[in-house]
Symmetry: C2
């Protein structure tokens, strides 16, 4: 006697996909299907980290250039990246999808679930509503375990003389987007467009950075120059850069202002220690790009003042 | 040397509003301005409850009939209601707002913050992006404290013979929406349209219900009949209703299918105990509407099979 609502069928497909790919909730937890999820608390003493990010069609993603699966991957990954940038680990995600009638939810969830499995971040709850434009909001919650002397790494802790490191070269996402717009490789998810379509969250890098005495850290979402300026502003400092780390296929402008690389930017007192710890963890060595100075708001590149450019979402 | 991004000004206004109205983060916590929020863990043994809800312009709210402040209130309150429906308490919220250029963020946040202060649920993080249509996603996290024998109240625990209670009469939101559409009282937030524009989360009621031995509970968001059918489906039962609790100004159809009332529906073995506990807490007595039966999927009203109607979001 109960007429099914259109959402019910979608929610059932989502629930089946999640359970198949991510497993069932452990005993005592409830992941989907009730008013809220029920979860075991973190270990006593662990701090809780939590962040929300929206991915909007036409602003962050172009559905002519990326599949819905890519969009799902990206929406979850960029939220996880915020926890990586604190040196934390994700525990679970909530996903809210607003989209037009006929949206291919299974394809979207293929990407969401793929990222959730990759980052160890099960999707424990969500919401599905109608909207003219696709908007995916992902809230990720995790923890910052470890001794109290290794708290979450904030943007504001950099000191004069700290060495600036990045976990990898920048601009790959902008270069990939340019390739896609030129009609190259739209189906080549593992190729040059992959950094744009399937970015990575630098979880292992952020974890090791926190345990190696990193003073300040953030992820590079809007471009190296604007994100560096944000870290420096939070710390009340300036910076003298020796080089811009440019990814293969990218330009220096891509690296400085392209955005969406999700590499981590770190300010550290002892870069040698950090490099040793990264090597011990089997991670690619971070790149030295310069050091922090006591001139707030001033960034120089090889002695010349650097104009700040950033990836601008339309607003 | 850093050109401010348009979002920066908005985020600063939001941050100032939040700090003024909701206070600063306690020592050791970080609420806004970094990659993620940092929060103290819940008390050892407390279960974590978490839920996300999207409120979409043109689907859930009509900006011709409600102010942005009302929309903000509603977006946060309906997410809190999901925790009320488990018998939990909110701890904090994340708010993601996607909206068109020129959106009046201070007005929207007036409502969000008003609800956050009312429900004791500080907004500790968020995201602001451009979109053609206003979409507000609110993720609320809280706890279900108390002894293990009083776990979060799920939808699936109802038993044959349980009495069905609701925390208040239904249909007020639908009746209020009708008044607004007819041009009555759009500025009268405390009047008959208030249940539609500024719904309440039944937190105290859910809390007392959990501690009074309630077997199953959910909030009524889509209308009494469809939400009752969901609770019964989760519990594998049917129901025999004696009456439909109709709010002043509403019709029986409003109460059964209007939706957005956010009263709590409960299945209890000992209704007298629940009424005593509600009275002891100074709460309005819940209304007895019928009892659970062993005929799955069948709901009767005074002996006649009840057609199931629900508030349909366009999809």
């Amino acid at each position: 006697v109960v007429p099914p609502k259109p959402e019910d069928a979608i929610v059932q497909v989502i629930a089946n996909t999640l359970e198949t790919k991510l497993g069932k909730a452990p005993d005592g937890e409830v992941w989907l299907g009730d008013d809220s999820a029920v979860l075991a608390p973190p270990r006593p003493g662990d701090l809780v980290l939590t962040s929300i990010d929206a991915t909007v069609e036409g602003v962050h993603v172009d559905l002519a250039l990326a599949s819905l699966s890519d969009v799902g991957w990206k929406a979850l990954t960029v939220a996880v990246s915020d926890l990586a940038a604190m040196g934390g680990r994700p525990s679970y995600a909530l996903v809210s999808v607003s989209g037009p009638p006929g949206l291919d939810f299974p394809l979207l969830y293929e990407g969401l679930v793929g990222a959730a499995a990759t980052w160890g971040c099960p999707i424990v709850g969500g919401d599905v509503t109608a909207a003219d434009q696709l908007v995916i909001s992902v809230a990720v919650t995790g923890t910052s375990p470890g001794p109290p002397e290794q708290p979450p790494v904030r943007r504001s802790g950099a000191l004069v003389g700290d060495t600036l490191l990045v976990t990898g070269p920048c601009g790959a996402s902008a270069a990939g987007l340019r390739l896609l717009r030129a009609g190259h490789g739209p189906s080549d998810v593992h190729g040059l467009a992959a950094p744009h379509r399937r970015p990575m969250a630098r979880l292992a890098e952020g974890w090791v950075a926190r345990r190696s005495g990193t003073n300040a850290m953030m992820d590079i979402s809007d471009g190296l120059s604007i994100d560096l300026s944000l870290l420096l502003a939070a710390s009340g400092l300036g910076a003298a850069l020796d080089l811009v780390p440019v990814a293969p296929g990218a330009t220096e402008a891509d690296a400085l202002g392209g955005g969406e690389d999700y590499e981590l930017l770190m300010a550290v007192a002892d870069p040698d220690r950090v490099l040793v710890e990264f090597a011990a963890a089997g991670l690619r060595p971070p790149l030295r790009i310069g050091r922090c100075t006591g001139e707030p708001g001033i960034i120089t590149l090889q002695g010349e003042v650097l104009p700040i450019t950033g990836w601008q979402h339309t607003f």
